[in-house]
Every structure is written in C-alpha cells, then in structure tokens.
Symmetry: C2
Subunit: 471 residues, 2 copies
C-alpha cells in the first residue's frame, strides 16, 4: 500500500489521469504473458517522457518502492509480474519514432512503440529492421530490448542485441544516462549498451533507443520440407549449415504442432508427418534460387517426404503467419499453455528433440515442440491445466529435466525469452555460482536499493541439479 | 620489487624457464605499440594453461600485485603498459586452436593465437572470420577481444564483439568462469561475454574463446576512386550507404597519406589527389558486379577524377596491403607517430576531416588522416618527434580538440583502439560522470583489489572540456 503523500507526488508528476490505483488497473497489471503467475502492484503509472521517468524514479528510490517497467507484457518468463508489489510503469505513451536517419541508416525510438508498427514504418522507407519476435504485433521495442528478443530471422540476421547501438536510460536514482550513439564502432569504456540489452528491467528503465537499420533483401523464397522421420528433419538443419548456407529462417514444427497449426490456419498440411521445416532464404534473386535449390537437394537426401516452394508471396506469408501462430494455436488445446525456450548448439537439435519426447513420455505430459531450429532455439510447449495441481507438478518436473538436458548438450536455459521469475532457479546451472555472484555485483552497482524489478533473474534459492554431471 | 617468496611461488607454478625478471625481459615488456609510454614491470610470466593462470592469480591477489595480461602488445592506447608495475602475463604459449566445429560453424581458441594465423587456418577449411585489425599479422585473438578490435571489414561484417559468443576467463580471485557457449542465442542473465569484450584486461584474464564463423563470400571486387575534392570523397561515402549498399570495405586516405603510402608501396598512385577511397564488395558475383557498377556511378556523380577496378586478385591484394601499411608508411616520415581513432556517425565524415585539418593547421602540426570511412572511424595520425617537448604539447592540444570535435559531431573518442592510458582523461566526455561511476562499479565487482591492469580506462582526473557545449 502506498501512502497518500507518495501517490500525490506521483500524480503531480504525470497528472491525475496517468496514475491509477483502482482495483481494475491493479489487476490488469498483475500478470503478463506467462501463465500461473500473478501479483498485485500498488499503482500503475504512465509517463510521457524521460524527465517524468526520472522524477518518478527519484520519488520511488527515496521511498524504496519497487518499479516494474513494462511494454505490452508479452514476455513468457514472468518478467513483468510485480512480485514484490510497487509501481508498474507502462511505457505505451512514449511510443514515438523520433528520427529515421537515412544517411546513417539509424532510427531513434521511444520504448513504447509497437515492434510491428516500427518495422512497417521502416519498410515503407525502404529499410529493414530484422528482429521479429512472434509477439511483434503487440510487443514493444522497449520490451524487446529488455528481453533481448529473437525471432524467426535470428539465424541469419541476429537478434535485438545486434541492432541496438545506443540507449538512453533512467537509473534507479533517477539519473539519466546515455550509452553508445549513431556509431558503428565505439569502444569508449565497457559496453553498457549490450549489458543493458536483455537485463530484463533490473538495471535501468529504457527511455530511448538508437537502432541500426540495414538494406532490405531484394528477394525471398519460402519452402516447406516435410519428413516422416523426425531425425531426418533435425539432421537436415545441421546439414544445410554445414553446407555453408545460412537461411533467413529455418523453423521446425513437430507432429502435434503441425496438427494444431493446420487446424487453426487451415493450410491443408499432411497430418502424418513427424516434422516440417519451414525454410526461407532472402538476398539477391540469383543466390536465393541457388540456395533454395541446394536446400531442396539436402532435404531430399535426408529422405524428406515432400518439398514444396511457395509459388507466391501470399502463399509464403500464409506459411510464415501459420508458424507464428503456433503458440496461439496450441493455446486452444487445453486451458494452460506453458512455452519454454531451451536452446542447444544447432548440431544437437535431433538429440534435444529426442530428449524432450523421452521426458514428456516419462512424466506423462503433452509437450509439442516447435521453434527456431537453425539457432538451436526450441520451444517445447506443454498444454496442460493450471487447476490440476498434480499434473502441473509433472509438467514442472518435465521442464526441469528439459533444462538439464539442454545444459548437458552444451545449451542454455533460455535462448530468447529471458530468465524472469520462471527460470531464476535454474540460472546457476548455466552460469555457475561465480557467474551469479558477478551478475549480482553488477545489479548492486546499478540498483543498490534493489527497487528495479526485484525478484527477477536471481532466485532466493537455486534448484539443485537432478542429474549428475559426468562431463 | 617482488620478494623472493612470491617469485618462488610463481616459478613453482610455471617452471623456472617461464618466469623472468632479468632487466632485458622487464624492458622488453615495459612498452607496447603506443609511443612515449613506458613503465617497468616487476616480472614477466608465460602460463601454459588456464589452471596455471588461475594459480598465478591466486598468488597475485593474495599479495595485491598488479597483473597485466597481454598478447603481442600491438595496441595503440597504452593498454598494456605496466604503469603500476606488477607482473606482465604473456599469453603466447596458450596459442592453440582447440576445435573447429564444422556443424555449428564455431571455433574454440586459446587467446595467444596470432589473428592472421587463425584466419588462414579457418579460410583453408572454407570458412570465414571477418575481424581483421591492421595489426593482424602480429596481434593475438586474445588481444583483439580485450580491445574489441575492428578492421577493414567492420562496415559490413561488424567487429570482434560480433564474433565472440563464449569465453572462459580467470577472475582476479583466481576463479575460473565460463560465459556463453556454442549458442547463437543465449539470454541466461546479463551478457557477460559482451561486457568482457573490450574491457581491456581490467575485468578478467581471457583464457579461451568460442568464436562464430560464417560462410565466406564467393567473390569479391576491389576498386579505387580518386578525388581532387576532399569533400566529394567524403560525400561519396554517405551516398553509397544512403543508396542501400554496404560495401565490405570502404577506406579513406587523404593526400599526405596517399603520398607516403605510394612512396612505401610503389603503386604509382596520382599524388595530386585530395583523397582516395578504396572500396571492396564481396558476395555472389551478380550482386557484387551490380554494386560495383552502382558505386562507380555514385563516385562519378560526386566528381571523382578517376575510378578504377582492380583487374586481378593480385592487384586487389596489393591495394589492400598498401592501405594496411598506412601506419607503417607514415611511421617512416618522422621519429614519432601518434595514431588516433576518433569516430563519428558516417554522415559526418566530411565535417570531421575538415575539423581535423583546421585543428592541425591551428596548432601547426602535421596530421595525416586515413581510416575506415564507412564506419566513420578515422585515424588522424600525427607525425612528430617525441624529443621536441614543445611540439608534442601542440600535438596533444590538437588531439584534445579532435576528440572534442568528434564528441560534438555525435561521435566517440575511440572506435576500435580502446581507452587504455591515452584516452582515459577524455572518457568522461563520451560517457558522462554517471557512465564512469557505473563502469567503476562494474570494475569493483570483478576486481575489488584493483590488481587487473590498474591505471587503465579510468583516469585519476578527467580533462576539462575546452569547448563549450552549445547543444
């Protein structure tokens, strides 16, 4: 509960209309895209500009009140759930594209701009901003930066961190700090820009970002390769890359995912396939044609049952949209959908899929797997029911073993969704006690009062590893 | 001076042959590639592996003795001068390529491998590692990572930070920490890999790196465009990029640089040109031809005096080698050569060159400018004489104004050489007092006893800005 004096101070910064603490507002901001996590904040605030964010932080730090900055809350790690109460700061009013610099190929944006809206604006100017998380129709660029979002084009083009070259942030103290700039090279001190990207709102509030844009590819082609043998599909992923071809997109869907996506998007996909690869290449027409032809040969050598190239841009878009809808489609199956993103070296995709299936069967839970195969970034997704406590325990046990398996294969607990609340107990498995200690020291430097998104990334207690490491 | 017990402890870790404290060894490691900086270490040590590095760090931290890790010492910021004495750790014995993974397109190397040797090894396997600092024939990958080295291919391919995806480091305490891995996506906690890249040996000792490799371009073409008008050359740089063409290399040399490079490399360059652009494009043959043709048109529209495309690979290599030799060639002019790397948004190249010339004239010093124009990363280079104190003061005053001008144009004090000793007094101009405070907090977390490369990055006192900021 906030005392009236603090509420008054916050109202005087943003105006009465932009601070809310009625129950409807609090409940609306008590959860995010992650199932089964909810906690009420004490207030919700909507700043208009950086100076308001700074003034708000000064009030909050003087009173040691937690601050959870958020965009649309589409994250899947509980990253914006206000577990220790405090103020949720919604960045949607700060949604301007401040500049597109056609000479330097950069854009300066406020954090609340919707990712897809920004991408469309940029594409209309004949430029390209590759990071395209599946949530992009509703997610914000600020949220993408906080989580270091990936997407379908990550394999060839990299993720959010590869396109953010400067930031303006407000620190816990209310101080405003700028990092980087419109500079392709800058080694003046430690790379604070990259450190802030993916810091999940625990180090500072992002108030402005300078983004790198690139020339768009001139041409693209999309193809589907369907496999009756799951491991043929997985081997195809490695083989394509071993052949020095880096497709723009190289997505994987297993049989259960194919079934629900087809039912959702009415694509007429063959339902007896063990796996489908959705492959897109872009670039100059000649090289795209050459790559697609070579990929077709590789698919056939790996016993693909069918390989088809989209005849038109509409057909290609339909396929991509269907893949993007996998999460939504799976969510219709049962009341609760838990999507994870264990990631492995791409050569280990086949082993990882095999492990996921073995673990799902062991715990008698339904796990569908799809994801960015070219990155080794899989999304094993459990369809379950939050009201069935016993089943949820089995789902949690299964995911614990899936994280363990990913680590054993040289992978990580999260490729693009972030640690947040959900994976905090497992972070030590990836980065070790030393890594945790260093990260906590960095957190302490930025946020000595621990008011920025408290309770995230660092767990009170790390989960003990269930499997003995024989490495 | 080290006491005998400490020397004995260090000798017992590496063996007598690999710890040295004779005067010849100390003098040899008292300086690096930066002129006019020298300080004697107390000893020089050559570890064989990570466990030796760890054992050494335990001895040094127990006794609060500074440690300066280095490769070949080719840096140009005084980054490896042992200004507070202590032990210089030379990484040359740890020079193995531990693995090249053809399925994941990654390599694991020890830090002491020579950059060019690694690049050649990788190219023989049909793969590509783009970062190519001009020092690459002698520099080490470990040194490149410590400085976040750039190079001629940075414009299209990025710099060292874009290719290091995992590290093994030894902390000041002697603890061994791993970050990242063979993973194209990994958001498990703060990005310590990127934080360590470019940290100039002040946060940890790099003992192993996992590098991302990419498919090599199939084809390349090299061209020279010569301009009698300096600003025509500079405008050409912006116009090429505005036309959505990102060349692999886009280098700039001004008239004084042309003269010395030609004298050095005997290329028969016309000596009456104000500037030459060296442009290289790579990729598929069709797109390279198209880009080169379009670039030729742009050069001609900007009144280029001559545009010539290298007829053979040998001719192209000769041109590139000549450009790489600019520093060496300039170094023959006068006893002391001071090379800087003020960097600006690429649209500001013309203004920056104009400012450099104005400042050089004002202070009556000779400054030649060349560099990676496509990145806005210029290398204004003073040819002077360290024995002439009065002239050196004028050179220093000129560089101070050049850094100031770069900042005023939205640039930075260093694009690829690092802060080290030389630019420490100017760091605050770029990152502000808040940025410095945050960076010092990070330093404190990694190295609470301040034994890792002390005296670097953070100056005792920041230089006051001479020009009033009207922004």
């Amino acid at each position: 509960m906030l005392d009236n004096q603090i509420k008054q101070a916050l109202r005087s910064i943003v105006g009465d209309a932009y601070f809310k603490d009625d129950m409807e507002s609090l409940v609306t901001h008590s959860y995010d895209g992650t199932p089964m996590l909810q906690a009420l904040p004490d207030g919700v605030i909507y700043p208009r500009d950086t100076s308001q964010v700074s003034a708000i932080m000064k009030v909050l730090s003087a009173n040691r009140i937690p601050l959870i900055s958020r965009g649309s809350g589409t994250n899947l790690c509980g990253g914006t759930v206000p577990v220790q109460g405090g103020i949720v700061m919604v960045m949607h009013r700060m949604n301007a594209i401040l500049e597109v610099d056609m000479q330097n190929l950069t854009a300066v944006v406020q954090p609340g701009i919707i990712t897809k809206k920004f991408i469309e604006h940029i594409e209309n100017l004949g430029l390209f901003y590759p990071p395209d998380p599946s949530s992009m129709a509703i997610s914000t660029i600020g949220g993408n930066i906080a989580e270091c979002s990936g997407g379908l084009r990550g394999l060839k083009y990299g993720t959010t961190k590869d396109y953010v070259i400067g930031l303006q942030v407000v620190l816990a103290s209310g101080e405003i700090m700028r990092t980087g700039g419109k500079l392709m090279k800058d080694v003046a001190g430690y790379d604070l820009t990259k450190l802030l990207i993916g810091s999940e709102g625990t180090l500072a509030v992002i108030t402005e970002a300078t983004l790198k844009l690139i020339p768009p590819p001139k041409f693209k082609k999309t193809m589907l390769a369907m496999f009756k043998d799951l491991y043929g599909a997985a081997r195809t992923v490695s083989t394509i890359i071993e052949n020095r071809i880096i497709p723009a997109t190289l997505e994987f869907m297993d049989n259960p995912t194919i079934r629900v996506v087809d039912d959702f998007a009415k694509l007429g996909l063959p339902l007896d396939m063990a796996a489908i690869l959705l492959i897109e290449q872009d670039g100059d027409p000649e090289s795209v044609e050459r790559d697609i032809e070579r990929i077709r040969e590789i698919c056939q050598a790996e016993q693909a049952d069918r390989v088809s190239v989209a005849a038109t841009a509409e057909e290609a878009l339909k396929l991509l949209t269907a893949r993007r809808s996998a999460f939504t489609a799976l969510a219709r199956l049962r009341p609760t959908t838990i999507l994870e993103d264990a990631t492995v070296p791409r050569s280990k995709i086949a082993e990882m899929v095999m492990e996921i299936n073995r673990i799902a069967e062991k715990h008698q839970v339904q796990i569908c797997t799809f994801g960015h195969a070219g990155d080794g970034n899989l999304h094993p997704t459990a369809t379950t029911d939050a009201r069935n406590t016993e089943e949820i325990h089995r789902v949690e046990a299964a995911f614990e073993e899936i994280f363990e398996a990913a680590i054993q294969l040289g992978g990580t607990i999260t490729g693009e969704h972030g640690v947040g609340l959900v994976k905090a107990p497992f972070l030590e498995w990836k980065v070790g006690q030393t890594g945790i200690a260093i990260m906590q020291g960095i957190k302490q430097t930025f946020d000595p009062l621990h008011i920025l998104n408290p309770g995230k990334i660092f767990a009170k207690e790390s989960r003990r590893r269930v499997v003995i490491d024989h490495a």
